[in-house]
């Protein structure tokens, strides 16, 4: 594939581009879908595509085609240059220099090559069976098991040439529990692994089944202010976006980050340490280099509540006169943007059951269904799979409870982080407990 990428760069340069980058991906995928308590469809496919980015007199152009034939790549280079000619100039555009990435081990499992569609079907059936056998009231609305082996190749006119192969297995299960006319809230659980050995569909199925069964028999409650214990999934839904937006250099430069100007300052209680770590191979966001070919390494973003750094790609780094942190993101269908790789919250010192038993008056939230404004941190929504806790003991499931507050204020009232963590694709998150949250009865 490197030859084709070199060809794309040469073509772009011959048309007048001062800099050019080609990024291609080829993948083979097997997927089995679950629907209505049964396997539904098996899918197998191969895809390949290339994105060509060019710079010309300070302007950028981008064109992508899902074909790796020379003639289509030539067209893509031509169109990318044509687009650059009508784009406004921006002196911050540049491509990173040649660099040597230390290649990660643990993101590619050779066994994935022989992982057949029939294996994917077996995994899907196992996940379904586990959930159904937990309790006869469990109804699985949908789910999937996906096995993907992909090769990513990048080259640029500064001499960078990189390639990496990764295998990713991922699975999800979603549904509810039904007991006569009592229908629980939805719950969904996910899992993932780079290796065949790491596949554990049963854990996701059990967690899903337990959550939906626990949310049967829900009762209305009075409005109150109290503690909030979020599961890793709920942390992902309510808290993570506010942080990942605020540590993104792009948001900082666009003045939409709440953390702008706060490097070295406290942004949370000292229980919180956040890492962006593409080298953590437990997370599905692991890879050796970023979308522009900058090598990945661990970035400690928040340490014991203190903001340490923002995340950069080459463009935003140049704007701030710093180095890229290796956070150029995106696929072959778009030019690079900035985002987290694996969002990792360090485990805390408390066990989950201790976090519950220490709660005087509060709610455990399995899922959060609502809106979070990542700019100002305001959130409001409905508690899903919520359970009322009084004097350290779980009382009952709750229904139609709204929760509202502010992520950044809540982080200052973070008063518990569990030792236990869950991997949610490219997030590794603990249970997190906050004080002084407003719950409104529906």
């Amino acid at each position: 594939m490197q030859d084709l990428l070199r060809y794309a760069i040469k073509e772009a340069e011959s048309l007048g581009a001062s800099d050019a980058e080609a990024y291609a991906a080829a993948s083979a995928e097997s997927e089995v879908f679950i629907e209505n308590n049964d396997v539904k469809l098996a899918k197998s496919q191969k895809t390949s595509s290339i994105g060509v980015r060019v710079l010309l007199n300070g302007s950028a152009g981008f064109y992508s085609v899902n074909s790796l034939t020379k003639s289509r790549i030539k067209d893509a280079a031509f169109m990318a240059v044509k687009i650059a000619r009508v784009s406004p100039k921006d002196r911050h555009h540049s491509l990173p220099g040649r660099s040597k990435a230390r290649m990660l081990s643990g993101i590619y499992d050779k066994k994935a090559e022989s992982f057949a569609a029939s294996d994917a079907a077996r995994m899907a059936a196992e996940m379904l069976g586990e959930a159904k056998s937990y309790d006869s009231r469990v109804s699985v609305d949908s789910g999937n098991f996906n096995a993907d082996v992909a090769t990513h190749v990048l080259a640029n006119s500064n001499g960078s040439e990189l390639a990496e192969r990764a295998s990713v297995f991922s699975w999800s299960i979603m549904g509810m529990a039904i007991d006569g006319s009592d229908i629980s809230n939805f719950d969904s659980q996910l899992g993932g692994s780079h290796s065949v050995k790491g596949i554990d569909v049963r854990a996701a199925a059990r967690e899903f089944a337990e959550t939906v069964v626990n949310s049967l028999g829900s009762r209305r409650i009075e409005s109150f202010k109290g503690g909030m214990l979020l599961t890793p999934v709920a942390v992902n839904e309510m808290i993570q976006e506010g942080i990942s937006h605020s540590i993104n250099s792009d948001a900082v430069q666009k003045m939409s980050s709440h953390f702008a100007g706060k490097i070295g300052k406290n942004v949370s209680s000292d229980l919180l340490t956040v890492e962006d770590d593409a080298t953590n191979v437990e997370g599905l966001g692991a890879s050796s280099f970023d979308r522009e070919g900058v090598p990945h390494h661990k970035n400690i973003v928040i340490e014991k509540g203190v903001l340490k750094k923002f995340l950069y790609n080459t463009y935003t780094a140049r704007k701030d006169g710093v180095r890229s942190t290796g956070n150029a993101s995106g696929s072959t269908v778009s030019p690079p943007s900035v985002s987290t790789t694996n969002f990792v919250v360090r485990p805390g010192g408390s066990r989950l059951d201790t976090l519950v038993s220490e709660m005087k008056n509060g709610i455990i939230i399995s899922r959060f269904s609502g809106n979070v404004n990542p700019v100002n941190g305001d959130f409001s929504g409905v508690v899903k799979g919520g359970r009322l806790v009084k004097n350290g003991a779980v009382q009952h499931a709750v229904k139609e409870v709204m929760v509202a507050g502010n992520v950044f204020e809540a982080l200052r009232r973070l008063n518990g982080v569990s030792r236990e963590r869950k991997i949610i694709y490219d997030s590794i998150l603990p249970y997190m407990r906050f004080g002084g949250i407003s719950f409104t009865a529906g």
């Binding site: 097997s30 899918k43 992508s64 044509k82 029939s118 079907a121 609305d141 409005s223 404004n373």
Partner: protein, 470 residues
């Protein structure tokens, strides 16, 4: 786009279908999509990209199991190989699938070529003009001094599709869906407020810009500034007058998803409610692949991806639950006809039951009367994202909320969340306006794969919980 000539695509698909063996049903869908996107943020070009995605998706039914495979190469060898993969995939399920697909509902298969009617072909508009529109829109969104950040996006999807199946569908479709959206963020001290405006249509350049692009931008700019000074709402159950966008979102999120037949089979709360009164008699709620009542609805599809005409389906008629949304498989299970709701986003996606344009039909009430007859309540406008649950609980955001006191519209309040039970809310509808608009055409619905949808309605008056921050 230099892809396949029209004749050669359908010919190849026909040949492929004719040689399929061992499958009780074969469907081959070619789709070439050209996506163009230009996005300006805070005076700078944030992103410009053009993406071609073309190939063929093949779905087969073998021994009562579905298999799907796709390829980006359209050589006859690659197509045959992909068909082989699809058949093997289906066979893989034979051991684990409990209830086999017994057949597909008989449907009239569509044949012919269909072109979305466009006023101003998008291909004739130079990319330079698309850049200019987005640049000007972003600048105008910063026209109010309180606005400190803004963004404007122009996006278009041009599709060429061919659908051929072993039951006789033989369709070629040319579709065009442009959209334009603006966001303005006003800031003062530690306070910030965001306003969005936009339009998304099925049609051409002039269909998109019936209203000047700068009008959207200036409206967003001014509203963001006003929202800075707005008071917060405290949570309570209230009388609400929902605007067409909120009605579209309510129809889509809280009713539409619950009546998708695949979801009904999984245990949606509507499963035993067919023929029952589920909403007030003022409510007729429709999902249609056509652009009913007004032109250019963003979710218009003409024919679905199983080759069935995508017509009008009354989900609720005068308050009575009348129909679920079906593909051919679910229609067979329910002993009814497909409603033409099988949709795939790209060639590499398999068709799923998805909505199209979902709306409440207009009634006879004047908005002015609805306000006049409300003692205390809110006019709720500017739909943001929403979610709904299997038990009918829904919750979505609204950007623009006006207090009504003693029959008069008072001050603008900060954005809020609306929540409740979908059917309780629809049962509470006591007034339905006479004006109709589609207004969520910039939105995409997600269900493993995106779908371009639209929704709308008249203003309606109902009761639900409003409150919280957003």
């Amino acid at each position: 786009m230099n892809l396949m000539s029209d004749a050669s695509v359908t010919d190849r698909l026909r040949t492929l279908i004719s040689v399929s063996r061992g499958a009780s049903y074969v469907e081959a869908r070619y789709q070439a999509r050209l996506t163009t996107e230009v996005n300006f943020v805070n005076g700078e070009l944030e992103r410009i990209r053009v993406v071609e995605n073309a190939g063929c998706g093949i779905r087969v039914l073998v021994d009562g199991c579905w298999g799907f495979s796709s390829t980006n190469s359209l050589s006859s060898g690659a197509l045959k190989e992909s068909m082989g993969h699809s058949i093997s995939a289906a066979r893989v399920l034979a051991k684990t699938k409990k209830s086999k697909v017994t057949g597909l509902a008989a449907s009239k298969m569509v044949a012919g070529t269909f072109r979305t009617s466009v006023n101003g072909s998008l291909s004739d508009i130079d990319i330079e003009q698309k850049v200019q529109i987005a640049r000007e829109g972003e600048k105008a969104a910063r026209s109010n001094k309180a606005v400190k950040a803004a963004s404007c996006t122009y996006r278009e999807m041009l599709d060429h599709k061919a659908i051929v199946n072993s039951d006789g569908a033989d369709v070629e479709i040319y579709d065009s869906k442009p959209e334009f959206s603006v966001a303005a963020i006003a800031r003062r001290g530690g306070q910030s407020a965001t306003a969005h405006e936009g339009v998304g249509v099925t049609g051409g350049w002039n269909d998109l810009f019936k209203k000047n692009h700068l009008e959207y931008a200036v409206t967003a700019s001014e509203r963001a500034a006003k929202l800075l000074d707005a008071r917060k709402i405290s949570g309570s159950k209230s009388t609400l007058i929902l605007d067409p966008a909120m009605v579209g979102l309510l129809s889509h999120e809280s009713i539409g998803h619950m009546v998708e037949a695949d979801f009904v089979l999984s245990g949606s709360m509507v499963k035993d409610k067919m023929g029952q009164q589920v909403a007030s008699e003022h409510v007729t709620l429709v999902d249609s692949g056509r652009s009913e009542i007004m032109n250019n609805a963003g979710g218009t599809i003409i024919v679905d991806d199983e080759g069935v005409a995508a017509g009008r389906t009354a989900i609720i008629e005068n308050g009575i639950l009348k129909s679920f949304l079906h593909n051919r498989e679910s229609a067979m299970m329910f002993g009814t006809a497909s409603t033409g709701n099988a949709r795939a986003f790209q060639y590499s996606d398999e068709p799923l039951i998805r909505m199209r344009n979902t709306f409440i039909e207009p009634g006879a009430d004047k908005l002015a009367d609805m306000i006049k007859e409300t003692n205390h309540g809110y006019v709720v406008k500017g739909a943001r994202n929403g979610q709904a649950d299997a038990n009918g609980e829904f919750m979505f955001g609204a950007e623009e909320v006006y207090l009504i006191e003693n029959g008069k519209v008072k001050e603008l309040m900060k954005g809020a969340s609306i929540s409740g039970n979908a059917f309780e809310t629809l049962r509470s509808v006591d007034m339905v306006g006479d004006e109709f608009h589609y207004d969520i055409g910039t939105g995409y619905c997600g269900k493993y794969q995106p779908a371009k949808v639209d929704g709308g309605g008249p203003y309606i008056r109902c009761t639900a919980v409003i409150g919280g921050l957003q």
